[in-house]
């Protein structure tokens, strides 16, 4: 695997491989010294054209835990504001000879284009409304830890599917891991033809009680002005996941950031069924595993480096 551009590109075995690797990093995370020397002397550039808290901080921390040097570039405050094109920005950053470029961009296909312009490994940290593969991997990781396997698990993805890259990547990842997925939301926010990805479609929450996992999506306030839904009040009345709708045996997930009181009620977020904080914790180890697979895994390992496939804690002789 040279780049991580989409979930679509990954087989079930490749997904399992990354998650197994993440498990081993979880073990490292329980030690006092949480750092391994794997990427010592190598550079990871994170290039974010959109605001992000979880994804950018966890990729940065993941790279640092692997001992890489990290350069974080945000579009705001950079030459992007002066009109520099993506291609030129990538050429500039590539001059530092980075091992990896982690990119978040508001438009679909951006990461793929970047992969054509640099010799670095490219990680798609979200491209427009297209894909967000590291999110899908951390969500599968979270569920796998909780349930053992996703085989036969029924998952409902609820909310603004139309504008959600998380919905698309997760739908692909969940089905690839053997889960049965239903996407649910108002007809205005379900893309025409989404069934092609192998899911069921529901325009209301009838039947959600059958789900093992309810995955709620963020409902952005600007959707009101475009008449996708008449009001947040009506949206919440029809689609909010609250303690009344959530069965005690069901698990609740959300990619964050949450609009409390819109897609989720406060008590649902804070309930023991909620995996939201587990998801964030999983983000770190899964992103470490992604960088490891790309830069130090079997194919990506620089020749002559004496590291095995197992991460070695810093300070111990390899």
């Amino acid at each position: 695997m040279k780049h991580l551009l989409s979930i679509e590109q990954l087989s079930r075995e490749e997904i399992e491989g990354i998650l197994d690797r993440a498990e081993s990093f979880a073990e490292v995370g329980r030690r006092d010294i949480k750092k391994v020397p794997t990427l010592r002397g190598r550079t990871v550039v994170s290039l974010f054209y959109e605001s992000s808290t979880r994804t950018s901080s966890s990729f940065d921390l993941a790279a640092k835990r692997l001992s890489a040097d990290v350069v974080s570039v945000k579009a705001a405050g950079s030459s992007v504001e002066k009109g520099e094109s993506l291609k030129d920005t990538v050429a500039t950053l590539s001059a530092y000879d980075p091992a990896a470029i982690v990119i978040r961009h508001p438009y679909a296909g951006a990461a793929q284009m970047v992969a054509g312009w640099t010799t670095a490994a490219v990680v798609n940290a979200g491209d427009g409304k297209h894909e967000h593969p590291s999110q899908a991997l951390l969500d599968v990781y979270t569920l796998r830890r909780k349930l053992g396997s996703l085989e036969g698990i029924r998952i409902w993805i609820v909310g603004d599917v139309l504008h959600s890259r998380v919905a698309r990547s997760n739908l692909i990842a969940f089905t690839r891991m053997g889960a049965e997925v239903t996407v649910c939301g108002p007809p205005t926010l379900i893309p025409r033809g989404i069934e092609e990805l192998g899911c069921e479609v529901s325009y209301n929450l009838d039947g959600v009680e059958e789900a093992d996992v309810v995955y709620a999506l963020r409902m952005q306030k600007e959707r009101m002005s475009e008449s996708f839904v008449p009001s947040l009040r009506e949206y919440a009345a029809s689609f909010q996941i609250d303690s009344r709708r959530l069965e005690p045996r069901q698990l609740l997930m959300h990619p964050g950031p949450v609009n409390r009181g819109v897609e989720l009620s406060g008590e649902a977020i804070d309930s023991p069924q909620s995996l939201i904080t587990e998801q964030v914790a999983a983000g770190l180890v899964v992103r470490m595993a992604i960088l490891y697979e790309l830069l130090a895994g079997a194919e990506g390992a620089p020749s002559g480096e004496g590291e095995g496939s197992r991460p070695t804690p810093i300070g111990t002789s390899a």
């Binding site: 438009y107 793929q112 427009g128 893309p191 989404i194 990805l197």
Partner: protein
């Protein structure tokens, strides 16, 4: 009227040629046989028996095994001048046309600024007389500055030589303004060519709305954004007994609307572009902005089939390239940000020959007929090989394989939708308005010996 009565071209030496033993196919003139095509003083002087033409000092082109067709006519080209000459201009655009086998093209008016005054038209005609390799006609905009608010001075524009009118690039959103333009057509004449799109439905869409856009997370342009506008304008044209030409049909529903309107007696003509006839939205899956982003968008297989059927039954009378040059920096960006449009003049015939004729979807005669069908809607006589006609001839090698772009392009821009593809069928020589407009370099070297 013949092409040069209404179109402008650089005047040069009249062709004096014999295409010896060419396979001559002109489905309209009902010619399909091997002849020596004798071109004298820029006119088709005779179709002589093979090998028997009196060469009389003419250049002899050994054309055995090659096909001579009436040269093609493209009613939809963006020459980008004035204002965007870094993409194309009259000289490069008409060279591209000649290389594609065209003897005439119609330039769209959505330049910067748009062609909205008589002076704009006069200046363009002057440029064409100075540097066009093939005859060019110019449309003027329907609305002043393409703003969709007020009509241009359509009578004066016609007097200045505007062939017709179009706000192509943008739809005429205001139905009231559209109706006024159709009423006014009874005074000024000239067809009105329409880019049909309801922006309230297409919104910020960048590709066809369907399963592929759902998977890619791209905002979709639904088929109904086109077909409902075609229906509106067919209704208005029928009511006003006016005439419209519907540009670049893309959706099955639109083909149905045009077919029904024709059956109801509406004066409506329609065109389809090679990329819509050859590709579907599956081509967008790779998110390549160079070959798969245009407006109207590539639609689904059922739409493509409907376009082919429309071409067959005459609902769509002509093929138009919608040649839309762009520079690399406008295309080397993520799909959603990339400029809409692809070039097509140099590849239209070869692409359609490869994708539709060779697999047996349509026959060669139909392709040749439809490649010249764009003249009629604009009151021009279609190119013909009948003796006595002005010489508008394209000589093709239907067996020649070539890779698009490997020798560069005559166009200033390289955003071909079929760049890198190997096509079968190549234009070797084009005679337009009686003058040799193009020779493929390798072919003319062969002739010189």
């Amino acid at each position: 009227m013949s092409l040069t009565d209404l179109l402008d071209v650089r005047s040069g030496e009249n062709a004096h040629l014999v295409l010896r033993r060419a396979t001559v196919l002109d489905p309209v003139a009902n010619i399909n046989a091997i002849h020596d095509v004798v071109i004298r003083e820029g006119t088709i002087a005779a179709l002589a028996s093979p090998g028997e033409a009196d060469t009389d000092g003419a250049e002899v082109v050994e054309a055995e095994g090659l096909h001579a067709f009436p040269a093609f006519f493209d009613p939809h080209v963006h020459l980008r001048t004035p204002g965007q000459e870094h993409k194309e201009d009259v000289e490069t655009g008409t060279r591209a046309a000649a290389a594609g086998g065209y003897c005439g093209i119609i330039a769209m008016a959505n330049t910067s600024p748009p062609v909205s005054t008589a002076a704009d038209v006069a200046a363009l005609r002057e440029q064409a007389r100075a540097g066009a390799s093939v005859p060019v006609g110019f449309l003027a905009t329907v609305s002043k500055g393409m703003k969709g608010e007020e009509l241009t001075e359509m009578v004066e524009l016609r007097e200045a030589g505007a062939l017709g009118f179009s706000d192509d690039g943008l739809p005429i959103v205001d139905a009231g303004l559209m109706r006024r333009a159709l009423q006014y057509q009874h005074l000024c004449g000239g067809n009105i060519a329409l880019h049909e799109e309801d922006p309230a439905l297409s919104r910020d869409g960048v590709m066809h709305e369907g399963p592929v856009s759902a998977v890619l997370g791209l905002a979709g342009i639904p088929s109904v954004s086109e077909s409902t506008m075609v229906a509106r304008d067919a209704g208005l044209a029928g009511y006003e007994r006016a005439r419209i030409h519907v540009q670049h049909l893309s959706a099955a529903e639109s083909v149905g609307v045009v077919r029904a309107a024709k059956a109801a007696g509406v004066q409506i003509s329609a065109e389809a572009s090679p990329h819509h006839l050859c590709l579907t939205d599956e081509a967008v899956r790779g998110l390549d902005p160079h070959r798969a982003k245009m407006n109207p968008p590539l639609r689904e297989e059922r739409d493509r089939q409907a376009l082919v059927e429309g071409l067959r039954d005459g609902t769509i009378e002509c093929i138009a390239t919608d040649h839309a040059p762009h520079q690399p920096e406008e295309k080397d960006v993520p799909f959603e940000q990339a400029a809409m449009g692809v070039t097509g003049l140099e590849t239209a015939f070869a692409a359609l020959h490869t994708e539709l004729v060779l697999p047996g979807v349509i026959d060669l005669g139909l392709l040749v007929e439809r490649m010249g069908g764009g003249a009629g809607p604009f009151d021009l006589e279609r190119p013909s090989l009948a003796p006595g006609s002005e010489a508008n001839v394209v000589l093709c090698d239907l067996g020649a394989e070539w890779t698009v772009g490997e020798d560069g392009y005559e166009s200033r821009s390289a955003n071909s939708w079929c760049a890198g593809q190997t096509l079968t069928g190549r234009v070797l020589m084009t005679v337009a308005a009686g003058q040799v407009a193009f020779r493929l370099r390798s072919f003319s070297l062969g002739v010189a010996s």
